[in-house]
Symmetry: C2
Subunit: 128 residues, 2 copies
């Protein structure tokens, strides 16, 4: 773990962007941010922990929803500016209920088309 | 394009992170940063343009190497904090010569294992 941490160039806020990809479908699920603690906790526990910028604290991804991400493999980019986690996604990655956060596809007309259907109802999971 | 731009939450430096994924193999290729001009130029031209933070200017991805990325589809995440481009990658995405920038995989021992082989020799492409 020390070698990984030494190669990561954390930004001026102590964070590194982490791309989360579903290891089976290869769908890109989300982009999150990790600090040193989140990297350590993720590697130790085997499930993704993020530094939730809006809450200013470490959280297990899926802490509220149960939609955890089990780490299958970890990569660092050529310059140490980002990391890539391939994960087994439980249920869905997006708080809107969609499997991936990238469910809005730009169409030629300039509007967005929704791809896929929600896997869960966010009102039931998070409350209204 | 206006709708996409209005949905993107550019950060305090006017940038948004963009994940680049190979549309065929679904390999995550790189994470780059785009400003408003880069988004517009990418959508207008159909090839990826980035705001190269180290050079402080707009560049076509592959400007020097010829390894351009032809845009196949564009997605925005649930909160407008990042974008995802699925592209047809010419030759290789990484300046080291590897197809993806994520060619270093963390092994259980804590060291890294190189996945794949370089597609081109960076010395020949960029000079030594």
């Amino acid at each position: 773990m020390e070698k990984l941490l030494s190669l990561i160039k954390f930004n001026d806020k102590g964070l590194v962007p982490a791309i989360i990809q579903d290891y089976k479908s290869k769908a890109v699920l989300t982009l999150c941010y990790m600090n040193k603690d989140a990297i350590e906790k993720t590697l130790d526990s085997g499930v993704v922990y993020v530094f939730r910028r809006s809450k200013g604290r470490l959280m297990m991804k899926g802490e509220t929803s149960g939609c955890i991400q089990k780490v299958k493999s970890v990569y660092i980019d050529c310059e140490g500016n980002s990391v890539l986690f391939k994960v087994a996604q439980k249920r869905a990655a997006c708080h809107t209920g969609y499997f991936t956060c990238y469910f809005r596809k730009l169409s030629k007309s300039g509007s967005f088309k929704i791809e896929g259907k929600p896997v869960f109802d966010p009102k039931k999971v998070y409350g209204s």
